[in-house]
Symmetry: C2
Subunit: 125 residues, 2 copies
DNA sequence: CTTGACTCTCACACCGGTGTGAGAGTTCGA
DNA sequence: TCGAACTCTCACACCGGTGTGAGAGTCAAG
């Protein structure tokens, strides 16, 4: 599919799809006329990129992490030791972030629960 | 304590501490000479802010969420309905993010596990 | 009193992710 | 064949978080 369709299906502006390509996150083929040609699988990939970006990871980090996230298709061979070390760091930060966010989530949840209890639980759960 | 000490103890530049104040995340007192005076408890608070920022939350969001994170001291009375609605939204986004980040964490973790298994587990766990 | 470390405010600048427009080429249906 | 809609590249601009510097005030130690 071309960039417009991918944009429509992912809700991500063409501008950004080009940007992600520039950052090495996407590698669409090219038609004879120069148009980008996107594989079906890239729909999911774009969603993943968006998720990771929203979670505070940089495109640089995502470029490192993304190859590992293609459902179980680990291509371990081409993993340079430096890449692995970086990945270990990212993993630790990911763990930290999940913990921090989980705590925040629980705190906010507890607060909302308390408010509902006190105000007669008017809010739709 | 003054801004320099807080910066030293949190590893956060004075510039940023002022910025967080400007964004309504911190409200230090002022000495007679105009210097900011930080309460001991703000050390922890600054760390929390940093974590949330690193997790992709905006200062605006953090400003909404932060009051609920001060260990159980819910001041429910002054909760305007709009604030609560906003908080509900933030909560849902928090849940989403935790899920997204958890997936990424697990994927990276699985990858690292696979690599260790194949390369003789040289990495220090 | 002087000096140096610290603080204040203000302002410009960087970077990364994103928006937007210009100008030119391609595709496709009316 | 014409025009609308799409694509391309390039470039400037915005915004949020951050760095950095200028110019001035505060304060403690020598």
């Amino acid at each position: 599919m071309r960039i417009g369709e991918l944009a429509a299906r992912t809700g991500v502006a063409p501008r950004l799809l080009r940007y992600y390509e520039e950052q090495g996150l996407l590698k669409p083929g090219r038609s004879a006329n120069g148009y980008r040609e996107y594989d079906e699988a890239l729909v999911e990939r774009v969603r993943q990129i968006r998720s990771l970006l929203a979670s505070g990871l940089s495109t640089r980090t995502i470029r490192t992490v993304l190859p590992c996230l293609l459902d179980g298709q680990f291509h371990v061979r081409d993993a340079a030791p430096q890449t692995l070390a970086a990945l270990e760091r990212e993993y630790r930060q990911l763990v930290e972030r999940v913990e921090c966010l989980s705590r925040s989530r629980d705190a906010v949840g507890a607060y909302l629960g308390a408010v509902r209890a006190l105000t007669g639980a008017g809010a739709g759960a």
